[in-house]
Assembly symmetry: C2
Homo-oligomer: 260 residues x 2
């Protein structure tokens, strides 16, 4: 999906919501399997979001069978909701041959539009994911967890800024996005000032405590430029038989703008 396609969908649907499919088998309503749960959540929330973001860890924890469920989830999305932007939340961070194999995994073996990456090993962690038309690398810059302060905010020029500047040298907005944590809404405005054009994927809204209104107020650019993620707040809005309707209602209330 191109950057313009994504902008168009955000404007026409009046939402910046990305629904995180962190599907935990231990939290499902009685009698509902992971794949059926995903399909119900997807169908219920698709009108209120522009992106879905399966979290690889939850599928890998079920072994190869979990990866099969993920493949079927992606197929279901591609077939039934072709207008959605699909993000593999993988936080991969390797180099060379290995990074190329991960790019193949998410962009070819599975038909994702984007994959999240961890930049510790430098620009080589990102380069193999660039130059694939309609595909995006999403680099973790500033995360929303407490121990983000261990390294990301350290230094006269903080590490997260060094990471963003380094990656902006090699990746244009139509192939590169950044993860910027929502609980740092005060920082969003500053980050937008030196990175005006790239999309930000913003976690930490809902269960992790951030406010979507704050994020939009401080982080949006002229064209939107935000994907605001909610996972648990949508998926587990109800754990009863009304889980899909409750998820739809939670999605409708999250990250909408301009009277959606």
């Amino acid at each position: 999906m191109t950057l313009n396609d994504l902008y168009t969908r955000i404007r026409s649907k009046h939402t910046m919501l990305c629904v995180g499919l962190d599907t935990d088998p231990a939290k499902l309503p009685a009698g509902v399997g992971v794949l059926d749960f995903n399909k119900a959540i997807i169908d219920a929330t698709a009108p209120f979001c522009v992106a879905f973001k399966p979290n690889l860890a939850f599928y890998e924890s079920m072994g190869s069978e979990g990866l099969r469920i993920l493949e079927k989830t992606v197929d279901y999305l591609r077939t039934n909701h072709p207008d959605q932007f699909l993000i593999a939340d993988a936080k991969r961070g390797d180099i060379g041959n290995t990074a190329r194999m991960y790019a193949k995994t998410y962009f070819e073996t599975m038909d994702f539009d984007a994959v999240t990456l961890s930049p510790y090993m430098g620009r080589e962690t990102v380069e193999p994911f660039l130059g694939h038309p309609g595909k995006f690398a999403i680099v973790v810059a500033l995360s929303s967890n407490p121990s983000a302060a261990d390294f990301q905010t350290v230094g006269e020029k903080p590490l997260y800024r060094r990471v963003m500047e380094t990656m902006m040298e090699i990746g244009s907005p139509d192939e590169l996005m950044f993860v910027v944590g929502a609980t740092k809404a005060d920082k969003l405005q500053e980050i937008r000032s030196f990175c005006p054009d790239h999309f930000f994927l913003v976690p930490g809204v809902g269960a992790q405590g951030g406010s979507a209104e704050d994020v939009i107020a401080h982080g949006a650019n002229a064209q939107g430029g935000l994907l605001i993620n909610s996972s648990r707040g949508v998926l587990y809005a109800s754990q009863g038989p009304d889980f899909a309707a409750a998820a739809a209602e939670a999605a409708r209330r999250t990250a909408c703008f301009n009277d959606c």
Copy 2:
């Protein structure tokens, strides 16, 4: 596997070699599949190494079928070579629920002894992998690739040192190791001086240019304390029908000490 078990095996086999199973379907001898290749390499090289390290990217690039091959490879190792230390080279770097799901993936769903981790998001990326008896987190500190210099070596106190000091606060040598790149053999001695007791997993020997002799000379501690990885240099020593014998000979020559 406990730290003492690993020390004992290194001493008794006179080798610090870890064979990296970066099995690339495009590089296999004619007519040999990935699982059969792995089994032949494992049987041929096991006498000359103490650890095997499948690289997750290569299996994930084949989708769920690739993960099934990985599961079968781990089963084969556990059944036929129970004295080997098994490392999932995954470079995972996430937090909270997600990190716990990855710990479950590698320590429970698959029976690995250790998993490599990327520390960008702070100590929370590592904590869920600690406190599992006989299991290890292996944190990337200093890698051997050129763009390691983008972030890892930046700062008055370089980031790699800050990472190691932070993680040493929470992880003892019997649950935490570090990845330290071999092509920085000049740095190994300095790193050993502030981190005397933790194991180092050392990549970059062989195809990436480092020398095992240098690594042992500068990085070993009193009990050994090193796992020296070689992947391509062993796996693809020959791409003909003699690949297993050639891999055994390459393994025999790499990372041995005290007349192995």
